[in-house]
Symmetry: C2
């Protein structure tokens, strides 16, 4: 795990019984480290997003959304707005909901998928991406398996600023009574800032609340 991951993520992972090996996000390569451990231990390496079963698993959120919207609103989603790191979730949603427009949202500067969709081929975030509170969305470049799906299915995408993301966290606190971590608020941030449009059957994914109390208190205090 990244050495600078939120303490709550490190602690909760340890509570599940994991042995945690930390690395430096900017100077070390997590895939090399993980592949080395897998080889040494005879373990199976599972990529965080560039894996068909991970994509399929994340896509199950789309199946649940479609079923719930069908039963409660009488129709499946026409649009799905979701945060995007490596593209596992968004690719899974696109496969699970073939009739819906899927709109990936990345933090500003960590926009490898936006850049890739704009150029038509996989781009990385460059050598000096900015700091972001979205620890869960810091991916340097997507994988071909994800990009093949996204390139075929995504015709819109957006970048959310750090301030827009904090505002979305405060909105969820004040209006939804939900605790969102920064990355989990990125899709909502793009909606609230008007960067992506919603219609009356749009699903907006709020995808995580693993934030430290001190960090969350600071976000609330900024409002």
């Amino acid at each position: 795990m990244p050495a600078n991951a939120p303490r709550v993520k490190l602690e909760r992972t340890a509570e599940f019984g994991a042995t945690i090996i930390t690395y430096d996000r900017l100077t070390e390569n997590r895939e090399e480290i993980a592949l080395g451990i897998a080889e040494q231990k005879g373990a199976t390496y599972v990529h965080a997003f560039g894996d068909p079963w991970v994509i399929e698993g994340q896509g199950s959120a789309g199946i649940e959304i479609a079923a719930q919207m069908q039963s409660q609103a009488g129709r499946p989603p026409s649009r799905i707005i979701a945060c995007c790191g490596g593209g596992g979730l968004t690719a899974g949603l696109a496969l699970a909901c073939p009739e819906a427009a899927v709109v990936p949202v990345e933090p500003e500067g960590w926009d490898d998928i936006c850049r890739s969709l704009e150029s038509g081929e996989i781009q990385d975030v460059g050598t000096s991406p900015p700091t972001t509170a979205c620890d869960a969305l810091q991916t340097f470049a997507t994988y071909p398996i994800n990009f093949a799906v996204l390139k075929a299915r995504c015709h819109e995408w957006a970048r959310a600023s750090e301030e827009e993301i904090r505002a979305a966290q405060r909105f969820a606190f004040a209006n939804l009574r939900l605790v969102l971590e920064p990355g989990g608020a990125a899709a909502l941030a793009a909606v609230l800032s008007g960067k992506v449009e919603v219609d009356d059957s749009t699903a907006v994914l709020l995808t995580g609340g693993n934030t430290d109390a001190a960090s969350f208190a600071k976000v609330l205090g900024d409002g």
Copy 2:
């Protein structure tokens, strides 16, 4: 509304178009004020908890709980733990779920219903109740219509301390990703502190999240 109500409650009520008249909780009587306004304006006075339709409306939470537990757990609740101010919610739950044990939880010192259940007749909180963060649960005494139900149906009750309530707010933040106001966390506080027992079909009601950002940040910082 109480002059010292959380700002968010005052603001949200105003957003609905209300004309808000504030009063001092400790020196003024809200019922007299409301009855005077009703007479002056020809309006209908609705008591906050001592009203059969209010009780019935709050009891609808019990009907929803029973339906959801039946469909998801295969049985209705055996126990329901709920916060208690004037006894509208708890009386409603008791009527809606006649097979369930209903356990009211009050803040320490604002325990008129606990005292009333212990003595067998309606008691008030006395002339100098302590300060509590639970603005929603500050009732001086219950009403006969509520007490008649609670006396017949409640065989357990509990008082939660201010610190137990803050701890429950932090628990909900960290584990449920929910924003709870103090009063909304009272039932959970009684459970987490071991003051009331739970079995495998107990429902614990978390009943509100109207808390100001600064207050919530302070609770998080106390942990």
